[in-house]
């Protein structure tokens, strides 16, 4: 690598990622599989699966799959690429969410992650028996507690807790199972999780939808933070805060959300220039490329990625098995 650093690349598939143009066609699982397998063949770090709440006035194109169930299915038809599902902290209880992702991580052999959005969606609260919604501060405090519980539950079993000792009659070592015993403002959760330890230590925590007051939560807990172009200047700040929390700045990856447009297909070199410039000048570790259409995925993989690779910015192929390793986060520990 020219700079010694590796640009990390994710693509965001909307579950309604359609063959060519927006239409009323509902894509099936095989279409989504082909897209993810293409991204895997290209060696991308991960695919992000959106999970939509109902839209006022009704969606113009319905999606067919909830993101965590889609992730489980995709895990069985891929072998290397990371798989991140969005899951709402309003729609789920922390114990259930921790369990779902811990299970996904074992199903995928250590390639799963949770995209936690810090942006409350009032429409969602209305469908989850919370018609009053949440105030911004209450949502933030609750989210901070929620994330802490989930990450705590993910560490409830030591990596070597399971003994499988048939003749001795011990399935696990009782010393290596830990209760959480969390009692907080919004939740109390005893634990432990009833799913074994993750093959990659813990599932990857991606945080998105940040506003400024969320920076400390992200700096303390996230493995990956997604920032929009207008907030990418926060990247340095986030890394400084991570350092203050006793983390290595390299242990927190900041990816910038990029919307693909006509320019990408028409002038892929210029598109690659923009990515390179941002990667070299900011504390940005890579990009999350939105590919609402499969043609955009094809264009990115076929036209832009070879250019980035030629410039020595992107690793070629996978060198490890887990998502944490793809991201250069293996061995990192949070507080």
């Amino acid at each position: 690598m020219a700079s010694g650093a590796t640009m990390h690349l994710a693509v965001s598939l909307a579950p309604e990622t359609a063959p060519s143009s927006p239409s009323d066609v509902v894509p099936d699982f095989s279409l989504l599989t082909r897209s993810v397998q293409k991204a895997e063949a290209a060696g991308l770090d991960m695919v992000l699966l959106a999970d939509s709440a109902p839209v006022a006035g009704g969606p113009n194109r319905q999606m067919r799959f909830e993101a965590t169930t889609l992730l489980a299915a995709l895990a069985t038809v891929t072998s290397r690429i990371g798989l991140i599902a969005a899951a709402s902290m309003v729609a789920h209880q922390p114990y259930n969410l921790a369990r779902r992702f811990a299970s996904l991580d074992i199903i995928s052999h250590g390639r799963a992650g949770w995209n936690a959005s810090m942006m409350p969606d009032p429409r969602e609260a209305a469908n989850f028996s919370r018609p009053e919604g949440f105030s911004g501060d209450a949502f933030r405090l609750r989210a901070e507690e929620f994330v802490g519980i989930v990450q705590g539950l993910w560490k409830g079993w030591d990596a070597d807790a399971l003994l499988f000792d048939k003749s001795g009659g011990r399935f696990f070592d009782p010393e290596k199972m830990h209760l959480l015993d969390h009692r907080g403002e919004y939740f109390s959760v005893r634990g432990p999780l009833n799913v074994a330890r993750s093959p990659q230590d813990t599932p990857v925590l991606v945080m998105s939808g940040l506003s400024e007051p969320d920076m400390d939560i992200a700096a303390r807990t996230a493995d990956v933070v997604l920032l929009d172009q207008r907030s990418i200047d926060w990247a340095d700040d986030l890394k400084r805060r991570a350092l203050a929390f006793g983390r290595r700045p390299e242990g927190l990856k900041v990816l910038m959300n990029v919307v693909t447009d006509g320019e990408m297909a028409a002038m892929p070199d210029m598109f690659a220039d923009r990515l390179e410039e941002c990667f070299r000048s900011k504390a940005c570790d890579g990009f999350n490329i939105a590919v609402p259409l499969t043609s955009a995925l094809d264009d990115f993989i076929g036209l832009v990625l070879p250019e980035l690779r030629r410039r020595g910015l992107v690793r070629s192929g996978y060198s490890a098995a887990t998502l944490r390793a793809h991201l250069g986060l293996a061995g990192e520990d949070r507080q």
């Binding site: 169930t69 199903i107 399935f171 939740f187 959760v189 009833n194």
Partner: protein, 417 residues
């Protein structure tokens, strides 16, 4: 076809290393089942090749046993979360139904309806939801509750929950009730089978009424033909009050088979498993089914003490007590007996003997089919699939191939309007 009853339904109840509490210690049990997705894919394919109607996963939102020393002697503290497990299996199988348990106490109806509908789309119309109200303190402690809700409250919430889910699956939104409020319809298209199949297992009076009102399938536990028949007739008799016909609901008692080429071999196989149960584990399991925590302080070779009514599983408790009195069993004997089959019907014998017993309950009008609880995996599922299923097929009691593509097709259930 025989005796005008058509063909029986079969579910394969997949659970970790096996349904026998000591299954994981068996030399042929796959001991890493709880962290091995390929193992589950293989089990699902075995059941599908044998033309089972469905695979079934139970669930609890917590570990099974609070006493860590006891828990560490069983394989049940860890495993896959069942919805993610079934979503993975959905795209690795083609025809078999996929049913998972989920609790009405620790979920919201909008999220649960949406998740199961997604599973239904991933599987092309093969999903089902087994409604439970959750009766364990261990689960309650993971959801901020100070204690278990009283039995009647749990069922009140469950009734509202089931009605909201059914409405969402029909494309409706807009609910304001005592426990839940939902504004919008689901943001997913309608189910390929009309709606996912609704399954229930509660056998109390409230549980039966809820099932008569909403369930497509009921799982139950019954030791004797008479118990099974009484439950069957009672539940089918409740359907008319809700404008439903007897065939609209399928009753599938659990059965724990131990099968071998000869009866002596089958008995030896069963004894081998029973020998692997530590006494403290057996007594703890029995205690948890009775929803009391301290059976271990009574003499293990003495009778079951008088027990107060509990807020836990009332129907299961009655079953255990009845059996102990009927057979004059000590705590140790009862513990071993229940540890083996968890209160379900155990049949030990040759393929012909097991087929005879299943046929007697099916043709005698005590069951529409059975939910199979193999003692250990994969061996006992393989044995049933290769030895007993062909025997049932020869007798015309079980399908030789799938006729349809959805779980509702397999079960002979109408598509909901």
């Amino acid at each position: 076809m025989s005796a005008g009853r058509g063909q029986m339904k079969l579910g394969a109840f997949l659970w970790a290393t096996g349904h026998h509490i000591a299954a994981w210690r068996h030399p042929q049990a796959h001991v890493t089942a709880g962290i091995d997705i390929d193992h589950y894919i293989q089990l699902a394919r075995t059941a599908e090749a044998a033309k089972f109607d469905m695979i079934f996963c139970e669930d609890a939102a917590g570990v099974r046993e609070a006493n860590v020393d006891i828990a560490s002697q069983t394989s049940r503290s860890i495993g896959f979360e069942p919805i993610s497990l079934l979503a993975a299996l959905a795209v690795q199988t083609e025809r078999i139904g996929l049913v998972s348990t989920a609790s009405t106490s620790y979920n919201e109806p909008y999220g649960l309806a949406r998740t199961f509908l997604s599973l239904d789309h991933l599987s092309g119309g093969r999903a089902g939801w087994n409604l439970v109200t959750s009766a364990s303190q261990i689960e309650a402690a993971n959801f901020g509750s100070t204690g278990l809700r009283p039995h009647a409250d749990r069922y009140g919430r469950a009734r509202e929950f089931a009605a909201v889910v059914a409405g969402l699956w029909r494309g409706q939104g807009g609910h304001e009730g005592r426990s839940f409020s939902v504004r919008d319809p689901l943001d997913l298209p309608r189910s390929p089978q009309g709606a996912p199949v609704m399954v229930q297992a509660g056998a109390s009076d409230e549980g039966r009424d809820l099932a008569a009102r909403t369930a497509d399938v009921v799982f139950t536990a019954a030791q004797t033909f008479e118990e099974a028949k009484a439950f069957y007739d009672d539940l089918k008799g409740r359907l008319a009050a809700y404008g439903r016909k007897p065939d609209d609901l399928k009753i599938m008692p659990g059965v724990a088979p131990v099968v071998a080429a000869s009866e002596a071999e089958a008995r030896a196989k069963h004894d081998e498993l029973q020998e692997l149960i530590p006494d403290d584990v057996g007594v703890a399991l029995l205690s948890s089914y009775l929803s009391i925590s301290d059976l271990s302080r009574y003499p293990i070779d003495g009778p079951l003490p008088q027990l107060p009514a509990s807020e836990g599983m009332q129907s299961r408790q009655a079953l255990v007590i009845e059996q102990s009195r009927r057979d004059n069993l000590s705590i140790r004997q009862l513990a071993r007996h229940f540890a083996g089959a968890r209160g379900h019907w155990r049949v030990v014998g040759t393929p012909a003997q097991i087929a005879d017993q299943l046929a007697a309950r099916f043709e005698g009008g005590a069951a529409d089919g059975f939910n199979l609880m193999p003692s250990y995996f994969p061996g006992e599922l393989d044995a049933f699939a290769t030895l007993v299923v062909p025997e049932l097929q020869r007798r015309g009691l079980f399908r030789t191939d799938y006729d349809g593509s959805t779980l509702r097709d397999h079960l002979g259930l109408k598509r909901p309007a």
